[in-house]
Subunit: 681 residues, 2 copies
């Protein structure tokens, strides 16, 4: 039989590296050159799908409206710039790394805070599902024969990420930096090469799909008026996926080297610049190269192979192949590998952020208390498994199709953007009121204007997203978020209610008048004798050895042994006509309490301590049941007197704490005090 304890040690055995003391976490603060790739893998990786998402919507109407693409891209870049500017304000105003949750909580209160929290929880799951699916898509673009295993590959990657994080891999800046820089460099080289060829040579980059035409979907062949506006807005909403992950740096300010806020703001600007350049470049290249990408492959006239089963190549893959000399060139495989890797890293950031958010919400009493104990292996593992499980479920439900998953993703992202920005507006209102310095006031006003613009724009985008994506999956998020909201609210109410019951009063401090010890006895054996000896050592006013007559033969044997061993405590036998143990004992205890309510009853329960989980099936069942019942009686304490059976020796020393480094430690870079003082600590 497998030993439970062995299974419990499995994660431990997989662990590499020594524990990181939280008070030493401050030693590893990040320079900008490492912070950029660590925090930017998520936002930069969206370049891998943002252009494609715009094209997918536009080609619903054939190729007629592709002319909208550059304009939409420009608006997305402007939006990105606004959001980056807005978050630079957040970074300065809330250097604790609390991000939108802290901003919403402090400026709009619980309702807004919990809404952001719900959005973030959903988004962590979707970050994993979307990034892994997009990564899989790029792997398949390099090796199209893998297409039939698409869901399997994606779920396998999620499992791999979960395993790595359960294992507590030691993060190093390089692990993140190398793939991210390789990705950025690769895409940049591709953009420059491509644009140079397009603009200055006679061999422009022509995508493999350039020659295909696209059949318009039913209902999209004659767009005009309101329908056309809606259509354009929908394509724009899809392009907004380019903004996902921008908030990451705002959550990681404490990990930066001082001056933290300034460095974070600089890194944010740098990240925004790179993201904008890459997105604009890829979009330009895709349009010059006449990339055709359709939601429904069978709408592509000219698509080689079976449009029912064969995959389209991602836009990135088509551009890489066209730029670097075909789908067998080194450049092509380089881009695909870097893209897939950076997307998987992006998914990994969710594994870092999710338990951290859980810990913060637990500290604020919105999630179960035990999530707050950061070092707890069990709790931490449960968080990882939960995240991986939900992400895998989404991947299975939506067949690892990034396009379908993204529809849901952006709702949460923009919900938290919007609430955060409006929170900042309120924040500045207050600060301006409090500030006496005119120059400072002016500076604050400017910041407020930026946040107001950011808030207004993201509000409009959120409305656009909800309206245009509602039926395409967003409704699911809009259903799930209130559920999470209400759940957290209920948990918080429960804790508040409990806390109000626990405020000390004199009653709780009243000393009992007398102590009545009861030792439960079934046989005269070592555990019983130990329990009796221990009970006597506490010098109770009354000491009763109690047995229940379930089996007259056993009881007679017990009474005989009692005399034989000359046990110095009288034995009380309770009758049990229905041959049960719990009720007679509970009734007896109730009787004592009824007769003298100020008497304290201590019930000593001898209990076997076993080394294997299955041994518990064979022992202690009545003791467990009894304890469960007795605890409902006021003025009764239940004392377990453990008797360590041989099999238990050497057990009990398993480590409950996560003994490896914590994933995400690096991007926190906090000293112990900071961990405690800040919500996102």
């Amino acid at each position: 039989m497998p030993k439970l304890s062995d299974l419990g040690q499995l994660p431990k055995r997989l662990v590499v590296g020594r524990p990181v003391r939280s008070d030493r976490a401050g030693e590893s603060l990040l320079p900008k050159s490492l912070a950029l790739p660590i925090f930017a893998s998520d936002p930069l990786s969206s370049v891998a799908y943002a252009t494609q998402e715009i094209l997918i919507v536009l080609t619903l109407a054939g190729t007629a409206f592709l002319f909208l693409a550059p304009w939409l891209a420009v608006v997305v870049v402007l939006l990105l710039a606004t959001v980056v500017l807005s978050y630079r304000q957040v970074v300065h105003a809330y250097p604790s790394g609390g991000g939108d949750y802290e901003v919403a909580m402090k400026n709009h209160g619980q309702f807004a805070g919990l809404t952001v929290a719900s959005a973030l929880l959903v988004d962590y799951v979707l970050t994993v599902a979307v990034s892994v699916s997009a990564g899989t898509d790029n792997i398949i673009s390099a090796f199209p024969t893998l297409n039939e295993h698409r869901v399997l590959i994606a779920v396998g990657l999620v499992a791999l990420l979960a395993a790595t994080n359960l294992r507590g891999v030691r993060e190093s800046g390089k692990t993140f930096a190398v793939p991210t820089y390789l990705f950025v460099a690769g895409i940049m080289v591709m953009i420059v090469t491509g644009l140079v060829r397009d603009l200055f040579t006679d061999s422009p980059v022509i995508a493999e799909s350039a020659g295909w035409s696209v059949l318009p979907e039913a209902g999209y062949d004659d767009l005009g008026g309101v329908a056309l506006v809606f259509f354009a807005l929908r394509a724009f909403a899809s392009g907004c996926t380019a903004l996902t992950g921008v908030e990451a740096i705002a959550n990681g300010v404490p990990a930066f080297r001082p001056p933290k806020s300034k460095n974070a703001a600089t890194t944010l600007a740098l990240m925004g610049g790179i993201a904008a350049t890459m997105f604009a470049g890829v979009t330009a290249l895709a349009l010059f190269g006449d990339v055709r990408y359709a939601e429904n492959t069978c709408d592509l006239v000219g698509f080689p192979g079976d449009c029912e089963t064969d995959p389209q190549r991602t836009v990135i893959a088509q551009l890489a192949a066209a730029t670097f000399g075909g789908d067998t060139s080194v450049g092509f495989f380089y881009i695909q590998a870097a893209t897939a890797l950076v997307l998987i890293l992006a998914a990994n950031t969710a594994f870092n952020g999710f338990p951290l958010l859980g810990s913060v919400l637990a500290q604020d009493r919105f999630l179960p208390r035990q999530l707050h104990t950061r070092g707890d292996k069990l709790v931490y593992s449960n968080g990882i498994l939960l995240l991986a499980g939900f992400a895998a479920l989404l991947i299975l439900a939506f067949e690892a199709d990034p396009n379908r998953l993204i529809q849901m993703y952006i709702v949460g992202v923009f919900t938290s953007f919007t609430i955060g920005q409006w929170g900042m507006v309120r924040h500045w209102n207050r600060e301006i009121r409090l500030s006496g310095d005119a120059a400072e006031k002016r500076r604050m006003r400017r910041s407020q204007v930026i946040n107001t613009i950011g808030g207004s724009l993201t509000t409009v985008v959120l409305v656009i997203i909800v309206v245009t994506k509602f039926t395409r999956g967003a409704y699911l998020v809009i259903l799930v978020m209130p559920v999470l909201f209400l759940l957290m609210k209920a948990i918080n109410r429960h804790y508040s209610h409990v806390a109000s019951q626990l405020v000390p009063d004199t009653d709780a401090r009243m000393l009992p008048s007398k102590v009545h010890a009861i030792v439960l006895v079934s046989k005269v054996h070592k555990p019983t004798l130990r329990a009796l000896a221990f009970a006597r050592a506490t010098r109770p006013d009354v000491l009763t050895a109690l047995t229940v007559n379930v089996d007259p033969g056993d009881t007679r044997a017990l009474q005989a042994d009692w005399e034989r061993y000359d046990v110095p405590v009288p034995l009380t036998v309770l009758e049990s006509p229905y041959r049960e143990i719990t009720r007679p004992v509970v009734d007896y205890v109730k009787g004592i309490r009824r007769d003298s309510p100020r008497e304290l009853v201590i019930v000593f329960v001898p209990q076997y301590v076993v080394g294997h989980w299955w041994e518990n099936v064979l022992h202690n069942q009545s003791a467990l049941r009894l304890r469960a019942r007795l605890q409902f009686q006021p003025g009764v304490m239940i004392t377990t007197v453990p008797w360590q059976l041989e099999s238990s020796i050497g057990r009990g020393d398993e480590d409950d704490r996560r003994s490896g480094p914590m994933p995400g430690d690096l991007r926190r870079g906090l000293t112990d005090d900071q961990v405690e003082a800040t919500p996102y600590g």
Copy 2:
């Protein structure tokens, strides 16, 4: 959210009737007229399929060897008579109702006893599966359109039986007597009517299948020599299903009115006579009426309808239709209803016997201890669910085909027959040696001869069954039995090993030199203050209030409150660099024990008592973990100081005992003393 306690009360709410006190069970001893149907539903119901099983094997070779049927039937009847005679000896020698398990245990020791126990456990599951499937078969014979729902009906019936037994239905002798007598009367009338028509009139009973011919299966068309002998033995082995259930009365002697053994023996003889008559009569009628029944419906030339999907009518149904005027006659439906009902009653006997056997095996320490507590609702329910679950699994796996299930059934039955009879032979050896009276010795010698014949015959039959049925399903039983055997053996060894560790010595009685009480503290609130007050009431030599510094802010607040509330115990703060709770406390306790090993440490853990299971998710997690770890430390007691939260009020009074009558109470009819004194009690 659902409340766990509500779910727990569900079985209770379904219960009808008042509890039966076990010391009153003696009031309802059974007269023979009630004992017969109560114990005979299982053995008599085998008449419903025994004849059919013989025909199924014989028609594998077409109709050429049907001439063997009457001879095989005669041998089966003789075997039945021998076994009945043998069990009459058991009834006299072991009036305690221990049956073959007791006989084997007392005369051959543990190996034989556990083999019988394994066989019986398997047989209880198969009794349910076979009887319910055969019952379903007879329902379908009356309403052939139900055939496509065969498995569903059978599983539904198992679920119904489980629900009824979970509900704790009050048994009355009539519930069993009426259907059994109706069945016996119906079959008898059918046999007499049929035989009179066959032998004395011009309108013999001709089965609907009489005109069909049967195609021999491949390999069976030219039987001779050893193959023919094997073939005949296989058909005989199938016919031996007529004997299943014969042992029931030997397990129920204590339920008879005095003189118990004599009455039981008489009832056994009566049952044997009726069973033999019915089996012989049905077989005769089937042969006179030229019933054709084949394993593979498509071997039946002339079968109307689709042989792939349409069902054959059972032999009983064909005879009833032919005897009473067709398949729309009242007589036909009467026989089908009575047959199905008696088969379902037979399945129900397993639901009575299974928990009883579990209790006996638990008392002998071969199964977990808690199974012994007869009145335990939870344990009892688990037994019923386990039995129903495995039976349903078999039904699903073998598509509710009684023919396929029976191949497995008889292995266990004859294993326990054989071991029991040889045990009796040894029993008489001993008794004869001990007896001084020559007349008594003579009487014992006669009994021994009967058991020797019984033992020899059942041994031969067992060998025949194993050899002829091995590949047809018996191998499964032969695989499962040793697993059960080893499991029970391992459980027993574990209990013995534990018991040997627990024999009292002086060490266990040694009083600790000093008591060091530790109260775990996280906040100054009512539960903490109560725990401190209670701990002080036990007047320990040392009293420490202990907290773990997981969160410096919280710890500072605690220290401030400690002064504010003027708590009269010094507060010790343990540092926890890794922000965990369990390890620092365990290390602290270990330190105390290391410094003074004779000091007793009592750890007081304040604990919230909540009313809903989900509240436990929100509380007490660290307390639970801590308790789990501390119990491995010798010389440490863990005292739970419960604080009853409002939601817990009124909880804790749920009844753990099964508050309805116990299924099978009736067929036990034991006084409390007898329950304890006998293994099958």
